[in-house]
Symmetry: C2
Subunit: 421 residues, 2 copies
């Protein structure tokens, strides 16, 4: 790879040649980061060259991705999700320049498709026939889908609480699914042991430094979609820490090669019931495990495996931490749907819930350019969406749902009663 | 609209000026079709002009769409879904040139977003503040999402059997949802009466001739994605008949303006338990109502409201009819997932089920260029997907799902027992 210099340990600084078997630091066990040759990339890439490209997927940024020569990107079309300027939503919460990046429109309906696309391409290059990971769901389905499309097998470890929609998706993609009777930490450990034993390609985002390189493409797109300008703030939900680290890396890369001339501040949004990363930032202390008390399963990660990278990203960006309750997340799901036509899963809408809070507290000025990344599609977790909509088993009637016989008279009466027409 | 000549009744040929209040023929009640000025469009549009456009959504085909001057397309990014050449899937079923068009990647996860985008734009132009429709689900969620994004209200009539995922999506989009205790026919009738009474913009695809103009964009894209070549066959599932009519209109329009030089044959796929359109073709008789016995809810339409247009499309294209059982549909869902990484809902996968059958029967030659349109995302109907995956309540264990404690020894034993590693 002409564009990649090395894989460097973020803990002890040890350097390794980038390659398929480089996962973590052999000296201290630290997480690695892919370091690029920015001078070389500068000579290859410009705003004009990008603007002329017709590949509207993550592969339009080939110069900024760790793809070996001769590697074959998988067939699925990943990335280039829409960035909507959402004036109505912005007005409701008091922001003049609010954008929603709807990453639920990726092939398997989440941002994780970006990382899995890199994993599949690198697994192919490494000559592996099986890819594996542990995941609360989205990383898993993206890997299973990407692997299926590329003709690879996949083995997926999920904690038993993973929503049914996500597990079903895995099975449909032909993955071997190991549903682990335990929490995310135990699930992760079992997957690590099995991957070691069987020699599968390891797509665990915490271990594999190439994954956040895929995730960073969301930032490359945001900047390009804004006309090569960085927003003032980028908000997203944080679980394992890999995504926010990737988002930050994307902006840093663009800045390093001169495609943007300043960097955004990150808004790290976690659930009040599970916020180990935000707590560490707020207390300026190391990350300590927390319980996993939130319905936003994708960010219910008590022991974030990429916590160090996440902390570095938030601190470097002069970032903001915001914790939101499950009620605030459900409210944000309704708000996104009703005023932007975007249906996000709880973790997907959590970033928006954070923005609502930040705007109310004036932490974010009214005229700031703010991007909220919706990381996954609401259809992934219909049970939570039903809670948000008010039609879960505990409350058998959302205010905007009428159950009625096919009779115009009854309808008219019901409308009159509710003051609808 | 300089590009539109008139709205013409497909039954009696009566001509009307195209406009927002033109729904059905005032003389005979027949369905209308939008007729374009192909000479004018030819002078405006070319392959080169299209190739240079950077708008990758249905609006790149503005010259072929019935949008009034000064109309404002809604904010959602609709269309330009990926067309995958699926060699592995093709090989499995004996086809050398099989393509899958994944329309589940639209904003609200179905092809219907294409029609609703036109409805929303025209409702705006007509000065309406409320749009309404009856739908088994996808038309509804697309309308609710599109309306929410554009700042319009929506009122949706669904039959009570509509899957929960779809109803939830409507409520999240802020729609007023009327869940009708009856079948699709009764639901449709109630919606028609209410729309008449309250003067809402009518998005019922059977009534509103502009909707199939939106749906046709899927064909415009297929042709352009194949390098302005029509495939030999296009397969899709048929319910109300509006979508297949739109698909045919798209190819005819392209042919009329010289952007393709031949037309494909349509493959109309219906469920064995609900196939009134296919039966009418096969018996060369008028459409008669049938029961709605299929789990593919989006095509469980016993009394197709756009049957005439569908019959005309199938006949004109020298089309093929294929009926598939629910088991064949579930098998196609697994096949699409496992060999193409595409997760379709039952009606979405039904087209592929039809292709499987057509290839086995040699109705479609092995070297034909075949496109199968996956009309909706599998996440819309997780209950059916669970059946397909073998984890519904009746069969509590898909062969590729292992439930296990976090213990490597147990895992190794289980793998050995199942012959996995």
């Amino acid at each position: 790879m002409k564009n990649v210099k090395a894989a460097v340990c973020i803990k002890c600084g040890a350097e390794y040649a980038a390659g398929d078997d480089t996962y973590t630091c052999k000296k201290c066990g630290g997480v690695l980061e892919i370091v690029y040759d920015y001078n070389y990339i500068k000579s290859q890439l410009s705003r004009e060259k990008l603007a002329a490209r017709k590949n509207f997927s993550i592969w339009r940024y080939l110069e900024l991705l760790p793809l070996e020569e001769g590697s074959r990107p998988g067939p699925l079309r990943v990335g280039w999700s829409p960035l909507y300027k959402t004036d109505s939503l912005g007005e409701t919460i008091g922001l003049k320049n609010l954008y929603i990046k709807d990453d639920g429109l990726n092939p398997t309906s989440s941002l994780k498709d970006r990382a899995s696309a890199i994993a599949v391409a690198r697994a192919f290059h490494a000559g592996k026939d099986t890819v594996a990971c542990s995941s609360t769901g989205n990383a898993a389905s993206s890997l299973a889908g990407g692997a299926a499309a590329a003709g690879l097998k996949s083995v997926i470890f999920v904690p038993e609480r993973a929503p049914q929609g996500k597990v079903t998706q895995l099975l449909i993609f032909g993955a071997t699914v190991i549903s682990v009777r335990g929490n995310y930490r135990e699930t992760f450990r079992l997957s690590a042991e099995a991957i070691e034993k069987y020699g599968w390609y390891n797509r665990n985002a915490a271990i594999n430094p190439y994954l956040s390189e895929g995730k960073k493409t969301v930032s490359l797109e945001i900047a390009e979609q804004l006309g090569f300008k960085a927003p003032d703030f980028v908000a997203l939900s944080v679980g394992d820490g890999c995504t926010i680290a990737g988002v930050w890396k994307g902006f840093k890369d663009l800045y390093a090669v001169g495609l943007i001339d300043r960097l955004p501040r990150l808004i790290s949004v976690q659930a009040s019931g599970c916020c180990p990363v935000n707590r560490a930032i707020e207390q300026n202390a190391p990350i300590e495990w927390m319980d996993e008390n939130t319905l936003a399963d994708s960010i219910a990660v008590g022991a974030p495996r990429n916590g160090e990278k996440a902390l570095a990203a938030i601190r470097e960006s002069n970032g903001i931490t915001i914790n939101v309750t499950d009620e605030e997340i459900l409210a944000a799901m309704r708000l996104l749907g009703k005023s932007a036509g975007v249906f996000g899963e709880p973790a997907g809408a959590a970033g928006t819930a954070g923005i609502v809070k930040a705007a109310a507290l004036k932490t974010v000025p009214a005229d700031a350019v703010v991007v909220s990344i919706v990381t996954g599609n609401g259809l992934k977790d219909v049970v939570s969406a039903q809670k948000a909509a008010g039609i879960d088993s505990t409350a058998e009637g959302a205010s905007n749902l009428l159950r009625i016989a096919p009779d115009m008279k009854l309808l008219t009466e019901e409308f009159a009663k509710r003051g609808i027409c």
